[in-house]
Structure formats: C-alpha cells, structure tokens
Amino acid sequence: MALPGSGVVNQGLQRTGINLACVGGGAAVGLPQTTSRYLMTMSVDDNANNFAAADTALSTSRGAIVNMFDQLLDGLATRTAQTISFTCTLGTGVANFTIRGIAWHDDTVANVTAASATLIAGIAGQSLLKTSSFSLAITGNILFTDNS
C-alpha cells in the first residue's frame, strides 16, 4: 500500500537551508547569529487529506481543519548519526479527538493555527482516537542518507 502523500514540504526544505546559512541573520558575517525560527512546534489534527509538497500551512491544500491541537516540542531536536529527532508528548487532557494528521512547524512563537505558514513536515492518513486514558509521545525523525 502506498503511504500517504506526506513528508518534508518544500517550505521545510527551504527553512532548513535558510537556517543553515543564517539568511537574514542580524549580525555581520563571521559573528554569532540568532535563529529566530526553528522547528519548535508539533500539531495534530483530524483532517483525513494528504499533505502536498507545496503546502505552507496545515490547511493549504487539505481544506478546513475541524479539530487541531499544537504544542511546543518536549525539547530541542536532537541528532544521532544521520538522524534528527523531535518529540512532543500530548498529555491526557489534550488533543482528544481522532488524530489523522501529524505535522511539525517552525515559528517565532509557540502557537500556530491551521493557516500559519509554518509547515515543515507532515504525515497524514493515520487514525487514532485519543482519549484521556493515555498520553501520547509522538516522535518524528528526519533521516539523512549518505550519497557518496
């Protein structure tokens, strides 16, 4: 079965490059820079539609988002060898609806909306009815492969 049309969106790849090169950094080249936008937030929603590569927000091509919850990551992303990991733990009292889409965002503030142009990556096509009976720790990994 083909996986849902999801992954790192074009904007997410652009943000990776922008942050790597400190495009628009506030200090002169050669000096330490401050990165104001980075992968800091995860969202879950109950929209059944796939993400598209050109999406910039949760609702760009997927249509209206009825139920959505976003939260800061548990901590900054980590790296082991060629894998970057980012985890967010949803407590028992939040996001209690059928989780179908999972996405990660970069932003300058903690809170994002369905229309925020912050989308970095997403996975659609899941189905998990979350309830107050459990917390849910969701981890996303971006895997880099050696092409040499």
């Binding site: 999972i102 996975i123 459990f134 917390s135 849910l136 971006i142 895997l143 880099f144 492969t145």
Partner: protein
Amino acid sequence: MFTNETPTHLQVFAWATPAEGVTLDMLIAEFEAAGNEILEVDRANNRLKMFDVTKEL
C-alpha cells in the same frame, strides 16, 4: 552530516502511556474496542506503540 547526504526519509512513531489509574490491559481493551491498531506492546516500559510510519522523501 550534510556532506554528500540528503534527507531521504521522514519517520513518525508514537507511544501511548496509560493515565494514572489506568492499567496497560485496560488501555489495550479500550484500543481494541475503538478499533485502534496496536503495533507493539512494551510491558517493560508500560506503553503501546500506535504509529510507525516511514515516508520516503
């Protein structure tokens, strides 16, 4: 990393941990009743794997 390397896969997985007062077996029963597929039962760590998706980029 980044030298001769490109992002090739996005992987997502999730673990469900029972709330206070809920046992792992109670949660398993709840998931089965709701039709939620359990991918792995990790009794040592009191948790259930609910998502495990790898998407090739």
